[in-house]
């Protein structure tokens, strides 16, 4: 095989096409990325009381996220310890007293302990904790329940908060928005026929903004230059002069979040928290995307628009506000879906190229390669 042609200095190579199409690569990503790192699973307010639950796909595993009687978040593998039946198949619901397996009725309390089973008293040697549901590490942050399937979870402070520091310079700049205290104004779920990395790459650059995001570029004129807010550290993209709010037509937004600094007003910030979270902050709301990679060519993205609780409680009209980023999402995901089929083209076997305003995506690619090769083995 001939060596790849050397690139002119303006260009940097992307990952080869197979990284976006090979189920073996995806399986390895599940293992080394999604099942090893902190994963933002559920909005805390979607678990309003003990026994309320959600099931989420984390890598190759189904995880049951709930609240114990003391109100703390818990997460378990959604796998019965008897003979493996899925405990709950619904996306969400509320268990009244316990999680009971529908197969032979093994019954687990909200701490995962085995509390009852047919003939259990005849098996006094069966330890109820040992044969309880298998626990997953849990953290609540930003008003979300984060889970980690690693046996020894990496430091949340370094991994998750570290991403915020890298992008914003400090965590306080995000704390100002009090994301945990905001209320859900709108949620839209996008089922995207594209590899999760195409979505991350898209979110990291703004070379496409002037072409596919007319409304966004109207609100944030500097985006026409092609440099994403994420290209810099601590940089917020300034609203255009005539723009009154972060809305689809630049009209007035909702009530400003009181904790933000003066210099955070009229600016848009964006953070990628690898591997599956994007956070956008504007003065009156915060948008949180959670990606759920389901297959090498399929990713579900759940997007939450969060506003001050009084804005949501009063039933204020957030539609123009939601519409702006909803369009951006559709425009972006269309572009990702347009790209996915070409990943298996022979012309893309060596991948594509990154222009200077995209060069920082190369760091993401290095990171992916690093994760996949960690601990030896073939990165595929």
């Amino acid at each position: 095989m001939s060596l790849p042609p050397s690139l002119p200095p303006s260009l940097v190579a992307t990952l080869p096409g197979a990284y976006y199409t090979d189920p073996g690569v995806f399986a390895r990503e599940c293992e080394r990325v999604f099942e090893s790192m902190w994963f933002c699973a559920v909005r805390a307010s979607d678990l309003p009381k003990p026994g309320a639950f959600r099931t989420v796909q984390v890598g190759r595993e189904s995880i049951l996220v709930t609240r114990a009687r003391d109100g703390s978040a818990r997460a378990f593998y959604n796998v019965c310890r008897h003979r493996g039946a899925r405990l709950r198949t619904e996306e969400s619901g509320e268990a009244r007293r316990a999680f009971q397996c529908p197969y032979h009725a093994w019954t687990y309390d909200f701490d995962g302990r085995l509390v009852a089973a047919p003939n259990l008293t005849k098996m006094p040697d069966l330890d109820r904790v040992e044969y309880g549901l298998v626990n997953v590490a849990v953290r609540e942050w930003l008003g979300y329940v984060w889970v980690c399937l690693a046996e020894e979870p990496p430091s949340f402070e370094e991994d998750v908060l570290g991403e915020v520091r890298t992008r914003l310079g400090d965590v306080a700049s995000l704390d100002n928005y009090d994301v945990a205290g905001l209320a859900l104004g709108r949620r839209i779920r996008y089922d995207v026929a594209a590899n999760w990395k195409l979505i991350v790459e898209n979110f990291m650059e703004c070379y496409h903004c002037a072409t596919i995001h007319p409304e966004l570029t109207e609100v944030l004129p500097e985006f026409a230059g092609g440099y994403a807010a994420q290209y810099y550290v601590g940089h917020g993209a300034l609203f255009g002069e005539e723009i009154r709010g972060f809305t689809v037509d630049g009209s007035e937004g909702l009530d400003r979040i009181p904790g933000i600094r003066e210099d955070q007003d009229r600016r848009y910030y964006a953070i990628t928290i690898k591997p599956q979270v994007f956070v956008n902050m504007v003065p009156d709301h915060v948008i949180v995307h959670r990606m759920f990679p389901l297959a090498v060519d399929r990713t579900v993205v759940e997007c939450d628009w969060l506003y001050l609780p009084e804005v949501v409680e009063a039933g204020r009209d957030v539609s123009r506000s939601v519409e702006l980023f909803h369009r951006v999402n559709e425009q972006d995901f269309d572009a990702c879906e347009r790209t996915q089929p070409s990943m298996s083209s022979r012309t893309y076997a060596r991948g594509g190229v990154l222009v200077p305003s995209e060069h920082h995506i190369g760091l993401f690619h290095d990171w992916v390669r690093g994760r996949l090769s960690e601990g030896g083995g073939d990165a595929g």
Binding site: R97, A105, A117
Partner: protein, 105 residues
């Protein structure tokens, strides 16, 4: 009369399973009453001491039939037969039961 446990080791809202033959479940209700009934659900082999105590009733942990602790009666299927009730005696801070002499239903 069979000793069960010291009174203080069975707080309100809790149950104790006495490994007699057949086993007996002793409940201390939130109202402070103490009751004893057969521990095994009449539907399937489940321990009612592991069930959910609510007022004067316990719900089987497996299939949600409820038994009245005072009468042993069951409210709804899948269990159809009642459980027996046993006499409780508290003496010198110890709980005792006097097992029923009736045949099991």
């Amino acid at each position: 009369m069979i000793p069960v446990c010291p009174l203080r080791s069975l707080p309100r809202g809790e149950a104790f399973r006495l490994d007699a033959d057949p086993p007996i479940a002793v409940f201390h209700t939130e109202d402070g009453e103490i009751y004893a009934i057969d521990d095994t659900c009449t539907h399937q082999d489940a321990s009612l001491a592991d069930g959910w105590l609510e007022g004067c009733e316990v719900e089987c942990p497996l299939h949600a039939s409820r038994f009245d602790l005072r009468t042993g009666k069951v409210d709804s299927p899948p269990a159809k037969l009642p459980v027996r009730t046993h006499t409780v005696v508290v003496e010198a801070d110890t709980i005792y039961v006097i097992p029923s002499q009736e045949p099991r239903p």
